[in-house]
Protein backbone atom coordinates (compact mmCIF):
# COMPACT_ATOMS: atom_id res chain seq x y z
CA UNK A 1 0.00 0.00 0.00
CA UNK A 2 1.11 3.52 -0.75
CA UNK A 3 1.33 4.34 2.98
CA UNK A 4 3.34 1.29 4.02
CA UNK A 5 6.91 1.64 5.26
CA UNK A 6 9.27 -1.15 4.26
CA UNK A 7 12.68 -1.85 5.80
CA UNK A 8 15.64 -4.08 5.04
CA UNK A 9 16.16 -6.64 7.79
CA UNK A 10 19.56 -8.27 7.64
CA UNK A 11 20.11 -11.59 9.38
CA UNK A 12 23.46 -13.05 10.38
CA UNK A 13 24.20 -16.35 12.10
CA UNK A 14 20.51 -17.19 12.40
CA UNK A 15 19.36 -13.99 14.14
CA UNK A 16 18.26 -10.51 13.13
CA UNK A 17 21.10 -7.97 13.27
CA UNK A 18 20.78 -4.99 15.57
CA UNK A 19 20.08 -2.81 12.53
CA UNK A 20 17.05 -4.98 11.67
CA UNK A 21 15.59 -4.44 15.16
CA UNK A 22 16.29 -0.71 15.04
CA UNK A 23 14.72 -0.32 11.60
CA UNK A 24 11.71 -2.41 12.65
CA UNK A 25 11.08 0.11 15.42
CA UNK A 26 11.72 2.97 12.99
CA UNK A 27 9.40 1.59 10.31
CA UNK A 28 6.68 1.09 12.93
CA UNK A 29 7.10 4.72 14.04
CA UNK A 30 6.93 6.04 10.47
CA UNK A 31 4.00 3.76 9.59
CA UNK A 32 2.05 5.30 12.47
CA UNK A 33 2.73 8.73 10.96
CA UNK A 34 1.80 7.61 7.44
CA UNK A 35 -1.17 5.43 8.38
CA UNK A 36 0.32 2.31 6.77
CA UNK A 37 1.97 -0.90 7.88
CA UNK A 38 5.63 -1.67 8.60
CA UNK A 39 6.89 -4.42 6.26
CA UNK A 40 10.21 -6.26 6.64
CA UNK A 41 12.30 -7.39 3.68
CA UNK A 42 14.42 -10.06 5.35
CA UNK A 43 17.62 -11.60 3.98
CA UNK A 44 20.65 -13.52 5.22
CA UNK A 45 21.08 -16.71 7.26
CA UNK A 46 18.06 -17.04 9.59
CA UNK A 47 15.75 -14.77 7.58
CA UNK A 48 13.23 -17.61 7.18
CA UNK A 49 12.25 -16.91 10.82
CA UNK A 50 11.23 -13.34 9.99
CA UNK A 51 7.80 -13.85 11.63
CA UNK A 52 9.57 -13.10 14.90
CA UNK A 53 10.16 -9.54 13.66
CA UNK A 54 6.54 -8.98 14.65
CA UNK A 55 7.75 -8.49 18.21
CA UNK A 56 10.18 -5.85 16.96
CA UNK A 57 7.44 -3.88 15.20
CA UNK A 58 6.88 -5.43 11.75
CA UNK A 59 3.31 -6.24 10.63
CA UNK A 60 4.40 -8.23 7.58
CA UNK A 61 7.61 -9.73 6.29
CA UNK A 62 8.86 -10.90 2.91
CA UNK A 63 11.75 -13.37 2.97
CA UNK A 64 14.08 -12.44 0.12
CA UNK A 65 16.48 -15.31 0.77
CA UNK A 66 18.21 -16.98 3.67
CA UNK A 67 21.43 -18.12 2.06
CA UNK A 68 24.83 -16.85 3.14
CA UNK A 69 25.26 -15.19 -0.28
CA UNK A 70 26.42 -11.59 -0.68
CA UNK A 71 23.49 -9.34 0.32
CA UNK A 72 23.57 -7.66 -3.08
CA UNK A 73 22.38 -10.88 -4.72
CA UNK A 74 18.95 -10.20 -3.10
CA UNK A 75 18.60 -6.86 -4.91
CA UNK A 76 16.44 -8.25 -7.71
CA UNK A 77 14.08 -9.96 -5.27
CA UNK A 78 13.92 -6.81 -3.12
CA UNK A 79 13.02 -4.67 -6.14
CA UNK A 80 10.30 -7.13 -7.19
CA UNK A 81 8.85 -7.23 -3.66
CA UNK A 82 8.84 -3.43 -3.44
CA UNK A 83 7.10 -3.12 -6.81
CA UNK A 84 4.33 -5.31 -5.41
CA UNK A 85 4.11 -3.72 -1.94
CA UNK A 86 4.47 -0.19 -3.39
CA UNK A 87 5.37 1.41 -0.04
CA UNK A 88 6.02 5.08 0.62
CA UNK A 89 9.58 4.44 1.81
CA UNK A 90 12.10 1.69 2.36
CA UNK A 91 14.57 2.11 5.21
CA UNK A 92 18.02 0.56 4.77
CA UNK A 93 20.82 0.27 7.34
CA UNK A 94 23.87 2.46 6.61
CA UNK A 95 26.13 -0.60 6.61
CA UNK A 96 28.08 -1.78 3.54
CA UNK A 97 25.41 -4.40 2.72
CA UNK A 98 22.55 -2.02 3.40
CA UNK A 99 24.13 0.66 1.23
CA UNK A 100 24.68 -1.79 -1.65
CA UNK A 101 21.06 -2.90 -1.56
CA UNK A 102 19.74 0.66 -1.20
CA UNK A 103 21.88 1.79 -4.12
CA UNK A 104 20.71 -1.10 -6.29
CA UNK A 105 17.08 -0.28 -5.49
CA UNK A 106 17.57 3.38 -6.48
CA UNK A 107 18.89 2.25 -9.86
CA UNK A 108 16.53 -0.68 -10.43
CA UNK A 109 13.37 1.22 -9.50
CA UNK A 110 14.48 4.74 -10.56
CA UNK A 111 13.47 6.18 -7.21
CA UNK A 112 14.93 8.90 -4.96
CA UNK A 113 17.73 8.08 -2.50
CA UNK A 114 18.39 9.80 0.84
CA UNK A 115 20.97 9.65 3.52
CA UNK A 116 22.69 8.49 5.52
CA UNK A 117 20.13 10.14 7.77
CA UNK A 118 20.18 10.83 11.47
CA UNK A 119 16.39 11.33 11.60
CA UNK A 120 13.49 10.51 9.30
CA UNK A 121 9.76 11.11 9.64
CA UNK A 122 6.55 11.33 7.64
CA UNK A 123 5.10 14.85 7.60
CA UNK A 124 2.37 16.24 5.36
CA UNK A 125 2.33 12.91 3.57
CA UNK A 126 6.03 13.17 2.66
CA UNK A 127 9.09 11.30 3.84
CA UNK A 128 11.47 13.89 5.30
CA UNK A 129 15.09 12.95 5.86
CA UNK A 130 17.51 14.85 8.04
CA UNK A 131 21.15 14.50 7.16
CA UNK A 132 24.48 15.93 8.31
CA UNK A 133 26.56 16.70 5.21
CA UNK A 134 29.95 18.17 4.42
CA UNK A 135 31.65 16.59 7.44
CA UNK A 136 28.78 17.57 9.70
CA UNK A 137 29.07 21.31 8.99
CA UNK A 138 25.55 21.55 7.58
CA UNK A 139 22.27 19.83 8.46
CA UNK A 140 19.86 19.42 5.57
CA UNK A 141 16.28 18.21 5.43
CA UNK A 142 15.22 16.62 2.12
CA UNK A 143 12.10 15.09 0.65
CA UNK A 144 11.08 13.50 -2.65
CA UNK A 145 10.60 16.03 -5.44
CA UNK A 146 7.08 16.53 -6.80
CA UNK A 147 6.18 13.64 -9.05
CA UNK A 148 9.11 11.47 -7.90
CA UNK A 149 8.16 7.77 -7.94
CA UNK A 150 7.88 5.82 -4.67
CA UNK A 151 9.39 4.38 -2.58
CA UNK A 152 11.92 6.82 -1.16
CA UNK A 153 15.04 4.81 -0.34
CA UNK A 154 16.42 6.05 2.99
CA UNK A 155 19.79 5.01 4.44
CA UNK A 156 19.57 5.15 8.22
CA UNK A 157 22.56 5.55 10.54
CA UNK A 158 23.00 3.09 13.44
CA UNK A 159 21.09 3.94 16.66
CA UNK A 160 18.77 6.41 14.91
CA UNK A 161 15.96 4.25 16.30
CA UNK A 162 15.84 2.21 19.49
CA UNK A 163 14.72 -1.44 19.26
CA UNK A 164 11.43 -2.25 20.98
CA UNK A 165 11.66 -4.31 24.10
CA UNK A 166 9.22 -6.87 25.42
CA UNK A 167 7.08 -6.82 22.26
CA UNK A 168 5.07 -9.78 21.10
CA UNK A 169 3.23 -10.84 17.97
CA UNK A 170 4.16 -12.43 14.70
CA UNK A 171 4.63 -10.79 11.35
CA UNK A 172 2.70 -12.35 8.47
CA UNK A 173 5.37 -13.94 6.31
CA UNK A 174 5.34 -14.36 2.56
CA UNK A 175 8.26 -15.79 0.60
CA UNK A 176 9.60 -13.63 -2.21
CA UNK A 177 8.46 -14.65 -5.66
CA UNK A 178 11.03 -16.78 -7.39
CA UNK A 179 12.53 -14.74 -10.14
CA UNK A 180 15.64 -13.95 -12.06
CA UNK A 181 18.26 -12.51 -9.71
CA UNK A 182 19.52 -10.42 -12.63
CA UNK A 183 23.12 -9.28 -13.03
CA UNK A 184 23.54 -8.78 -9.26
CA UNK A 185 23.10 -12.52 -8.87
CA UNK A 186 26.39 -13.05 -10.72
CA UNK A 187 28.52 -12.00 -7.72
CA UNK A 188 29.54 -14.96 -5.62
CA UNK A 189 31.79 -15.61 -2.66
CA UNK A 190 34.71 -17.73 -3.84
CA UNK A 191 36.59 -17.69 -0.54
CA UNK A 192 35.37 -16.92 2.97
CA UNK A 193 37.51 -16.20 6.01
CA UNK A 194 34.85 -15.57 8.65
CA UNK A 195 37.07 -15.37 11.72
CA UNK A 196 40.20 -13.74 10.39
CA UNK A 197 39.91 -11.19 13.18
CA UNK A 198 38.63 -12.18 16.61
CA UNK A 199 36.68 -9.02 17.21
CA UNK A 200 33.30 -7.85 18.40
CA UNK A 201 30.90 -6.31 15.92
CA UNK A 202 31.33 -2.61 16.74
CA UNK A 203 28.00 -1.66 15.21
CA UNK A 204 26.28 -3.68 17.94
CA UNK A 205 28.26 -2.22 20.88
CA UNK A 206 26.70 0.36 23.20
CA UNK A 207 30.03 1.23 24.84
CA UNK A 208 33.22 1.60 22.79
CA UNK A 209 36.75 2.20 24.05
CA UNK A 210 38.76 3.37 21.04
CA UNK A 211 42.52 3.73 20.72
CA UNK A 212 44.63 5.75 18.34
CA UNK A 213 48.23 6.52 17.57
CA UNK A 214 48.84 7.41 21.21
CA UNK A 215 48.27 3.80 22.26
CA UNK A 216 51.62 3.07 20.67
CA UNK A 217 51.48 -0.70 20.15
CA UNK A 218 49.35 -3.82 19.96
CA UNK A 219 50.26 -4.44 23.62
CA UNK A 220 48.91 -0.99 24.47
CA UNK A 221 45.52 -2.13 23.22
CA UNK A 222 45.46 -4.83 25.93
CA UNK A 223 45.15 -1.97 28.42
CA UNK A 224 42.12 -0.66 26.53
CA UNK A 225 40.60 -4.14 26.32
CA UNK A 226 40.59 -4.34 30.11
CA UNK A 227 38.81 -1.01 30.39
CA UNK A 228 36.31 -2.10 27.74
CA UNK A 229 35.68 -5.34 29.65
CA UNK A 230 35.12 -3.44 32.91
CA UNK A 231 32.63 -1.14 31.17
CA UNK A 232 30.94 -3.98 29.32
CA UNK A 233 31.96 -2.55 25.97
CA UNK A 234 34.06 -3.29 22.89
CA UNK A 235 37.38 -1.97 21.60
CA UNK A 236 37.58 0.23 18.51
CA UNK A 237 40.39 2.13 16.83
CA UNK A 238 41.37 5.01 14.61
CA UNK A 239 42.71 4.42 11.13
CA UNK A 240 46.24 5.18 12.34
CA UNK A 241 46.08 2.25 14.79
CA UNK A 242 44.67 -0.09 12.13
CA UNK A 243 47.26 1.04 9.56
CA UNK A 244 49.99 0.38 12.13
CA UNK A 245 48.74 -3.19 12.39
CA UNK A 246 47.98 -2.94 16.14
CA UNK A 247 44.35 -3.96 15.54
CA UNK A 248 42.46 -5.42 12.56
CA UNK A 249 40.66 -3.07 10.18
CA UNK A 250 37.31 -4.42 11.36
CA UNK A 251 37.80 -2.24 14.46
CA UNK A 252 38.37 0.96 12.54
CA UNK A 253 35.90 3.76 13.29
CA UNK A 254 35.54 6.65 10.90
CA UNK A 255 34.83 7.72 7.37
CA UNK A 256 36.26 4.54 5.85
CA UNK A 257 35.54 2.28 8.80
CA UNK A 258 32.48 1.83 10.96
CA UNK A 259 30.03 4.58 11.77
CA UNK A 260 28.99 4.08 15.39
CA UNK A 261 26.62 5.77 17.80
CA UNK A 262 27.27 4.21 21.20
CA UNK A 263 25.91 5.47 24.51
CA UNK A 264 29.55 5.99 25.55
CA UNK A 265 32.62 6.49 23.41
CA UNK A 266 36.00 6.64 25.14
CA UNK A 267 38.82 7.90 22.91
CA UNK A 268 42.31 7.08 24.18
CA UNK A 269 45.28 8.62 22.42
CA UNK A 270 43.05 9.65 19.52
CA UNK A 271 43.59 13.15 18.14
CA UNK A 272 40.10 13.37 16.66
CA UNK A 273 40.81 14.16 13.01
CA UNK A 274 37.72 14.85 10.93
CA UNK A 275 37.92 11.43 9.23
CA UNK A 276 37.59 9.73 12.63
CA UNK A 277 35.10 12.23 13.98
CA UNK A 278 32.52 11.54 11.28
CA UNK A 279 32.42 7.93 12.46
CA UNK A 280 31.63 8.67 16.10
CA UNK A 281 30.42 12.25 16.47
CA UNK A 282 26.86 11.22 17.25
CA UNK A 283 27.89 9.13 20.27
CA UNK A 284 25.73 10.15 23.22
CA UNK A 285 28.64 10.66 25.59
CA UNK A 286 32.23 11.28 24.52
CA UNK A 287 35.16 10.93 26.92
CA UNK A 288 38.65 11.62 25.59
CA UNK A 289 41.99 10.97 27.25
CA UNK A 290 44.95 12.52 25.48
CA UNK A 291 48.39 13.85 26.37
CA UNK A 292 48.05 16.73 23.95
CA UNK A 293 45.97 19.57 25.42
CA UNK A 294 45.43 20.92 21.88
CA UNK A 295 44.14 17.67 20.34
CA UNK A 296 41.06 18.43 18.17
CA UNK A 297 39.06 15.82 20.11
CA UNK A 298 39.22 18.27 23.04
CA UNK A 299 36.91 20.56 21.08
CA UNK A 300 34.02 18.13 20.77
CA UNK A 301 34.40 15.67 23.64
CA UNK A 302 31.99 16.02 26.56
CA UNK A 303 34.77 15.28 29.04
CA UNK A 304 38.38 15.87 27.98
CA UNK A 305 41.09 14.57 30.28
CA UNK A 306 44.59 15.79 29.51
CA UNK A 307 47.02 13.14 30.70
CA UNK A 308 48.93 9.94 30.06
CA UNK A 309 46.48 7.20 29.18
CA UNK A 310 48.82 4.51 30.55
CA UNK A 311 48.81 6.24 33.95
CA UNK A 312 45.05 6.77 33.95
CA UNK A 313 43.39 3.84 32.15
CA UNK A 314 44.56 0.94 34.42
CA UNK A 315 43.50 2.89 37.51
CA UNK A 316 40.22 3.79 35.89
CA UNK A 317 39.59 0.12 35.09
CA UNK A 318 40.18 -0.78 38.74
CA UNK A 319 37.95 2.05 39.97
CA UNK A 320 35.11 1.06 37.68
CA UNK A 321 35.36 -2.56 38.82
CA UNK A 322 35.35 -1.37 42.44
CA UNK A 323 32.27 0.82 41.96
CA UNK A 324 30.43 -1.84 39.99
CA UNK A 325 31.45 -4.48 42.52
CA UNK A 326 32.79 -6.76 39.80
Amino acid sequence: MANDIAFLAEYADGAPSRSALELAAGAAELAEQSGGEPVALAYGPGAADAAALGAAGAARAVVLGDAAAPAITCAGAAAAALSEIAPMAVLAPATPNGRDLAAALIGLLNVPGFGPVRAVRVEDGRVRSEQATLQGTVITVSEPADGAPQPAVVLVLPSTFTPREGGSGKATVTPAKAGDAGPFGAARVVESHPADAKVANLEEASIIVAGGRGVGSADGFATLEELAAALGGAVGASRAAADAGWVPYQLQIGQTGKVVKPALYVGCGISGAIQHRVGMQTAENVLAINKDPDAPIGEFADLFVVGDLFAIVPKLTAEIRRRKGT
Binding site: L108, Q135, S142, A145, E299, I312, L316
Partner: protein
Protein backbone atom coordinates in the same frame (compact mmCIF):
# COMPACT_ATOMS: atom_id res chain seq x y z
CA UNK B 1 41.34 -4.72 -20.67
CA UNK B 2 40.24 -1.22 -19.76
CA UNK B 3 39.27 0.46 -16.51
CA UNK B 4 37.44 3.75 -16.28
CA UNK B 5 37.70 5.40 -12.87
CA UNK B 6 34.87 7.75 -11.93
CA UNK B 7 35.90 10.69 -9.84
CA UNK B 8 34.19 13.62 -8.25
CA UNK B 9 35.50 17.06 -7.54
CA UNK B 10 34.59 18.03 -3.97
CA UNK B 11 35.30 20.91 -1.60
CA UNK B 12 38.50 20.24 0.38
CA UNK B 13 37.71 18.51 3.69
CA UNK B 14 39.02 21.40 5.74
CA UNK B 15 37.67 24.28 3.67
CA UNK B 16 34.66 26.26 4.80
CA UNK B 17 31.38 25.29 3.14
CA UNK B 18 28.53 27.60 2.25
CA UNK B 19 25.11 27.05 0.80
CA UNK B 20 23.59 29.31 -1.85
CA UNK B 21 20.17 30.93 -1.44
CA UNK B 22 18.54 27.95 -3.18
CA UNK B 23 20.16 25.55 -0.69
CA UNK B 24 22.84 24.16 -2.99
CA UNK B 25 26.45 23.87 -1.99
CA UNK B 26 28.30 26.99 -3.07
CA UNK B 27 31.14 25.14 -4.76
CA UNK B 28 32.77 28.36 -5.95
CA UNK B 29 33.33 29.39 -2.32
CA UNK B 30 35.46 26.35 -1.45
CA UNK B 31 38.81 25.01 -2.52
CA UNK B 32 38.15 22.05 -4.83
CA UNK B 33 40.04 18.76 -4.83
CA UNK B 34 39.62 15.22 -6.16
CA UNK B 35 37.41 13.43 -3.65
CA UNK B 36 40.14 11.86 -1.45
CA UNK B 37 38.49 8.42 -1.53
CA UNK B 38 38.47 8.48 -5.35
CA UNK B 39 42.25 8.79 -5.30
CA UNK B 40 42.40 5.23 -3.96
CA UNK B 41 40.37 4.03 -6.95
CA UNK B 42 42.82 5.85 -9.23
CA UNK B 43 45.74 4.23 -7.40
CA UNK B 44 44.17 0.75 -7.69
CA UNK B 45 43.63 1.20 -11.44
CA UNK B 46 47.19 2.44 -12.00
CA UNK B 47 48.64 -0.47 -10.02
CA UNK B 48 46.69 -2.93 -12.15
CA UNK B 49 47.97 -1.18 -15.27
CA UNK B 50 51.56 -1.34 -14.01
CA UNK B 51 51.13 -5.04 -13.20
CA UNK B 52 50.00 -5.66 -16.78
CA UNK B 53 46.45 -6.74 -15.85
CA UNK B 54 44.97 -3.68 -17.50
CA UNK B 55 45.89 -2.06 -20.82
CA UNK B 56 44.35 1.35 -20.43
CA UNK B 57 42.95 3.57 -17.70
CA UNK B 58 40.48 6.34 -18.36
CA UNK B 59 38.85 8.86 -16.02
CA UNK B 60 35.28 10.08 -16.01
CA UNK B 61 33.73 12.89 -14.05
CA UNK B 62 30.44 14.70 -14.01
CA UNK B 63 30.31 18.29 -12.85
CA UNK B 64 30.77 21.90 -13.83
CA UNK B 65 33.56 22.90 -16.22
CA UNK B 66 36.23 23.42 -13.48
CA UNK B 67 36.05 19.66 -12.83
CA UNK B 68 38.46 19.35 -15.79
CA UNK B 69 41.10 20.38 -13.22
CA UNK B 70 40.36 17.28 -11.17
CA UNK B 71 40.59 15.14 -14.31
CA UNK B 72 43.88 16.80 -15.27
CA UNK B 73 45.24 16.06 -11.80
CA UNK B 74 44.22 12.42 -12.16
CA UNK B 75 45.96 12.27 -15.54
CA UNK B 76 49.07 13.67 -13.86
CA UNK B 77 49.04 10.62 -11.56
CA UNK B 78 48.86 8.36 -14.65
CA UNK B 79 46.32 6.81 -16.99
CA UNK B 80 45.53 7.57 -20.59
CA UNK B 81 42.49 9.77 -21.16
CA UNK B 82 39.63 11.59 -19.48
CA UNK B 83 36.03 12.54 -20.12
CA UNK B 84 33.92 15.21 -18.44
CA UNK B 85 30.15 15.21 -18.67
CA UNK B 86 29.02 18.75 -18.07
CA UNK B 87 25.72 20.43 -18.77
CA UNK B 88 23.81 23.35 -17.28
CA UNK B 89 20.88 20.97 -16.76
CA UNK B 90 22.92 18.97 -14.23
CA UNK B 91 23.13 21.58 -11.47
CA UNK B 92 21.92 20.14 -8.17
CA UNK B 93 21.98 16.54 -9.46
CA UNK B 94 21.07 14.01 -6.77
CA UNK B 95 22.23 10.41 -6.31
CA UNK B 96 19.83 8.95 -8.86
CA UNK B 97 20.50 11.60 -11.53
CA UNK B 98 24.27 11.36 -11.01
CA UNK B 99 24.13 7.59 -11.32
CA UNK B 100 21.96 7.84 -14.44
CA UNK B 101 24.40 10.22 -16.15
CA UNK B 102 27.49 8.24 -15.17
CA UNK B 103 25.82 4.96 -16.19
CA UNK B 104 24.91 6.37 -19.60
CA UNK B 105 28.42 7.77 -20.14
CA UNK B 106 29.96 4.47 -19.01
CA UNK B 107 27.73 2.56 -21.42
CA UNK B 108 29.28 4.68 -24.16
CA UNK B 109 32.85 4.24 -22.86
CA UNK B 110 32.19 0.51 -22.28
CA UNK B 111 35.13 -0.36 -20.01
CA UNK B 112 35.62 -3.83 -18.53
CA UNK B 113 35.70 -2.35 -15.04
CA UNK B 114 33.92 0.85 -14.01
CA UNK B 115 35.75 1.73 -10.80
CA UNK B 116 34.82 4.16 -8.05
CA UNK B 117 35.89 5.23 -4.60
CA UNK B 118 33.86 3.85 -1.69
CA UNK B 119 32.16 7.16 -0.90
CA UNK B 120 32.34 10.86 -1.58
CA UNK B 121 33.77 13.06 1.08
CA UNK B 122 30.85 15.48 1.02
CA UNK B 123 27.71 13.32 0.87
CA UNK B 124 29.03 9.96 2.17
CA UNK B 125 26.11 7.88 0.93
CA UNK B 126 28.18 5.28 -0.98
CA UNK B 127 25.14 4.93 -3.22
CA UNK B 128 26.45 5.81 -6.67
CA UNK B 129 28.38 2.58 -7.45
CA UNK B 130 25.42 0.29 -6.76
CA UNK B 131 22.95 2.56 -8.54
CA UNK B 132 25.25 2.72 -11.61
CA UNK B 133 25.53 -1.09 -11.62
CA UNK B 134 21.74 -1.39 -11.44
CA UNK B 135 21.17 1.12 -14.24
CA UNK B 136 23.75 -0.60 -16.45
CA UNK B 137 22.57 -4.11 -15.63
CA UNK B 138 26.04 -5.18 -14.44
CA UNK B 139 27.26 -7.04 -11.34
CA UNK B 140 28.57 -4.98 -8.41
CA UNK B 141 31.79 -5.70 -6.51
CA UNK B 142 31.86 -3.14 -3.73
CA UNK B 143 34.12 -2.07 -0.85
CA UNK B 144 37.15 -3.94 -2.16
CA UNK B 145 40.28 -3.61 -0.08
CA UNK B 146 41.90 -5.04 -3.20
CA UNK B 147 40.69 -5.48 -6.78
CA UNK B 148 42.15 -8.11 -9.11
CA UNK B 149 41.46 -9.23 -12.65
CA UNK B 150 41.36 -13.01 -13.00
CA UNK B 151 40.90 -13.96 -16.65
CA UNK B 152 37.37 -12.97 -17.63
CA UNK B 153 36.34 -12.13 -14.07
CA UNK B 154 37.12 -9.51 -11.44
CA UNK B 155 37.60 -10.21 -7.75
CA UNK B 156 37.53 -8.04 -4.66
CA UNK B 157 38.67 -8.77 -1.15
CA UNK B 158 35.96 -7.39 1.11
CA UNK B 159 35.98 -7.11 4.89
CA UNK B 160 33.11 -8.70 6.79
CA UNK B 161 32.14 -8.04 10.42
CA UNK B 162 34.89 -10.31 11.72
CA UNK B 163 36.86 -11.46 8.68
CA UNK B 164 36.89 -11.14 4.91
CA UNK B 165 35.45 -12.67 1.75
CA UNK B 166 36.78 -12.90 -1.77
CA UNK B 167 33.89 -12.05 -4.10
CA UNK B 168 34.00 -12.66 -7.83
CA UNK B 169 31.85 -11.60 -10.78
CA UNK B 170 32.24 -11.97 -14.55
CA UNK B 171 33.39 -8.91 -16.51
CA UNK B 172 32.21 -6.29 -17.21
CA UNK B 173 31.56 -5.12 -13.65
CA UNK B 174 31.07 -1.99 -11.59
CA UNK B 175 33.41 -1.98 -8.59
CA UNK B 176 34.31 0.24 -5.65
CA UNK B 177 37.44 0.16 -3.49
CA UNK B 178 38.35 1.37 0.00
CA UNK B 179 41.34 3.26 1.33
CA UNK B 180 43.11 -0.05 2.02
CA UNK B 181 44.22 -0.53 -1.59
CA UNK B 182 47.40 1.45 -0.97
CA UNK B 183 48.33 5.10 -0.58
CA UNK B 184 47.64 7.19 -3.68
CA UNK B 185 50.77 8.37 -5.44
CA UNK B 186 51.71 12.00 -5.89
CA UNK B 187 51.87 13.38 -9.39
CA UNK B 188 55.47 13.86 -10.53
CA UNK B 189 56.54 16.94 -12.47
CA UNK B 190 56.94 14.67 -15.50
CA UNK B 191 53.42 13.37 -14.90
CA UNK B 192 52.02 16.89 -14.72
CA UNK B 193 53.70 17.79 -18.02
CA UNK B 194 52.53 14.55 -19.68
CA UNK B 195 48.95 15.12 -18.48
CA UNK B 196 48.70 18.27 -20.59
CA UNK B 197 49.02 16.22 -23.77
CA UNK B 198 46.60 13.44 -22.80
CA UNK B 199 43.22 13.48 -24.55
CA UNK B 200 40.32 15.02 -22.62
CA UNK B 201 36.81 15.07 -24.02
CA UNK B 202 33.87 17.11 -22.82
CA UNK B 203 30.40 15.73 -23.36
CA UNK B 204 27.06 17.45 -22.93
CA UNK B 205 23.92 15.53 -21.98
CA UNK B 206 22.96 15.45 -25.65
CA UNK B 207 26.33 13.88 -26.49
CA UNK B 208 25.43 10.85 -24.38
CA UNK B 209 21.88 10.74 -25.69
CA UNK B 210 20.11 12.08 -22.61
CA UNK B 211 17.71 14.99 -22.38
CA UNK B 212 17.06 17.09 -19.28
CA UNK B 213 13.57 15.55 -19.19
CA UNK B 214 15.11 12.10 -18.69
CA UNK B 215 16.56 13.34 -15.40
CA UNK B 216 13.42 14.71 -13.75
CA UNK B 217 14.99 18.15 -13.45
CA UNK B 218 18.33 16.63 -12.30
CA UNK B 219 16.86 15.27 -9.07
CA UNK B 220 14.17 13.05 -7.60
CA UNK B 221 14.90 14.74 -4.28
CA UNK B 222 14.84 18.29 -3.05
CA UNK B 223 16.40 20.04 -0.09
CA UNK B 224 13.81 21.95 1.90
CA UNK B 225 16.02 23.19 4.72
CA UNK B 226 19.74 23.74 5.36
CA UNK B 227 21.00 24.92 8.72
CA UNK B 228 23.96 24.91 11.06
CA UNK B 229 24.15 21.96 13.44
CA UNK B 230 22.93 22.46 16.99
CA UNK B 231 25.60 23.91 19.26
CA UNK B 232 26.89 21.18 21.56
CA UNK B 233 27.36 21.51 25.28
CA UNK B 234 30.78 22.94 26.16
CA UNK B 235 33.59 20.46 26.82
CA UNK B 236 34.45 19.85 30.46
CA UNK B 237 38.26 19.82 30.73
CA UNK B 238 40.30 18.00 33.34
CA UNK B 239 43.99 18.92 33.27
CA UNK B 240 46.98 19.46 35.52
CA UNK B 241 45.69 16.90 38.01
CA UNK B 242 47.14 13.63 39.29
CA UNK B 243 46.12 10.33 37.67
CA UNK B 244 44.14 9.43 40.82
CA UNK B 245 42.22 12.69 40.71
CA UNK B 246 41.56 12.26 36.99
CA UNK B 247 40.24 8.74 37.63
CA UNK B 248 37.86 9.99 40.34
CA UNK B 249 36.58 12.76 38.07
CA UNK B 250 36.02 10.32 35.19
CA UNK B 251 34.29 7.73 37.39
CA UNK B 252 32.02 10.42 38.89
CA UNK B 253 31.20 11.65 35.38
CA UNK B 254 30.37 8.12 34.22
CA UNK B 255 28.24 7.50 37.30
CA UNK B 256 26.36 10.80 36.86
CA UNK B 257 25.42 9.63 33.36
CA UNK B 258 24.45 6.18 34.62
CA UNK B 259 27.11 4.58 32.45
CA UNK B 260 28.48 2.57 35.38
Amino acid sequence: MRIVVCLKQVPATTSEKRYTADLRLDRAASEAVINPLDEYAIEQALRLQEAGSVDSVGFLSMGPEPATEALRRALAMGGDDATLVTDPALGGADTWATARVLATALDKLAPDVSLMGMASDDARGSLVPGAVAALRGLPLLSYGSELRIEGTAARVRRLTATGFDIIEAPLPVVASVTDQVGEPRYASLKGIMAAKRKPMETWSLADIGLAADDLHGAALTRVIEARKPEAKAPTERVENVSADEAVTRIADWLAARKLI
